[in-house]
């Protein structure tokens, strides 16, 4: 019998940390589905790169904050690949501002995409995973969700929310052979952090014991481990990947 090829869905999988995760999982031999909302070119490029690694890959446009759209996306993936073995809830945005300047819209957008988006995807994927009695759910949080950060009450709340969600879901689904874990990146070189001023960057790097920013690959390596059978006895955990920034 031919060995079944596993399928992984990575939300926001066309750019930054998401892209590194997608390509790492493709390298590990998973068929990958890249979800994106706006950057179709990035998603398409990532599909091509993944295919070069010898797996099947495709991109699906979906605003994960939209409950109904997510339901359609998941059904579509099930139709195409028959199952989803690994889900990486990575898609996220920032809309930083000090509380006095933060609009209701800034708050809502960040919570809707980062936190509710994660809920939406899990809601529809878990049904299929429960039936199969296996699955790996990996949520990308942030060290900011643990220690907070000036100008990020919305982002930090969404990322702290993801930690609570991860732990609760881990308890709910453990009896069905499904593990749920979170990865909390620290300061990682991506478009999201590129916009920070040099002085902010050097202050942050000075606060990191390893004295350097992380790379998307550093996150992808941990996700790869959490997606594999090597992590079967780990659930409900938050793994910081931050050069020692938060201990």
């Amino acid at each position: 019998m031919e060995k079944e090829i596993k399928t992984a869905l990575v939300t926001g999988g066309g750019r930054g940390i998401g892209k590194a995760i997608t390509l790492k999982l493709a390298e590990d031999g998973y068929n990958v589905v890249i979800n994106y909302s706006k950057s179709s070119k990035d998603a398409d490029d990532t599909v091509l790169e993944a295919k070069k690694l010898g797996v099947d890959a495709y991109a699906v446009k979906c605003d994960i904050s939209d409950y109904k759209e997510v339901e359609k996306m998941i059904d579509n993936i099930i139709e195409k690949f028959g199952h989803i073995d690994v889900v990486v809830n990575n898609a996220g945005i920032t809309k930083d501002n000090l509380i006095l300047r933060m609009s209701e819209e800034d708050w809502d957008n960040v919570i809707d995409i980062n936190l509710k988006g994660t809920f939406n995807v899990i809601k529809f994927v878990s049904k299929y995973m429960i039936k199969r009695r296996k699955g790996k759910i990996i949520n990308i949080s942030s060290v900011v969700g643990i220690v907070g950060n000036v100008g990020q009450v919305n982002y930090a709340s969404s990322k702290a929310g993801i930690i609570g969600l991860t732990k609760s879901l881990a308890k709910e689904l453990a009896s069905r052979g499904i593990t749920v874990n979170a990865v909390a990146p620290g300061f990682i070189e991506t478009d999201m952090t590129k916009i920070l001023s040099d002085s902010v960057k050097s202050t942050m790097i000075n606060s990191i014991p390893l004295k350097r920013a992380g790379k998307p690959q550093d996150i992808a390596n941990v996700v790869s481990f959490l997606a594999s059978n090597a992590s079967d006895y780990i659930t409900g955990q938050v793994i910081n990947v931050d050069g020692g920034m938060v201990m």
Partner: protein, 76 residues
Amino acid sequence: MEFEKIRDIIVEQLGVDPEEVTMESSFIDDLGADSLDIVELIMALEEEFDVEIPDEDAEKIKTVGDVVEYLKNLEK
């Protein structure tokens, strides 16, 4: 609403022997179901019989007989 059809769904969902499923069997005490099993079972029944079972009704379902009775009442 035939008992056999419902029994088959219960057998499939809970992985029990058909002989174990009687009208009196309690899902939790006799058939070893947990709360998630019951939610899954309710969802399977909803799909099979094309009905919607609200949470407040689902909470009252404890035995196989409760399911048969509930679905019978829906048919009326």
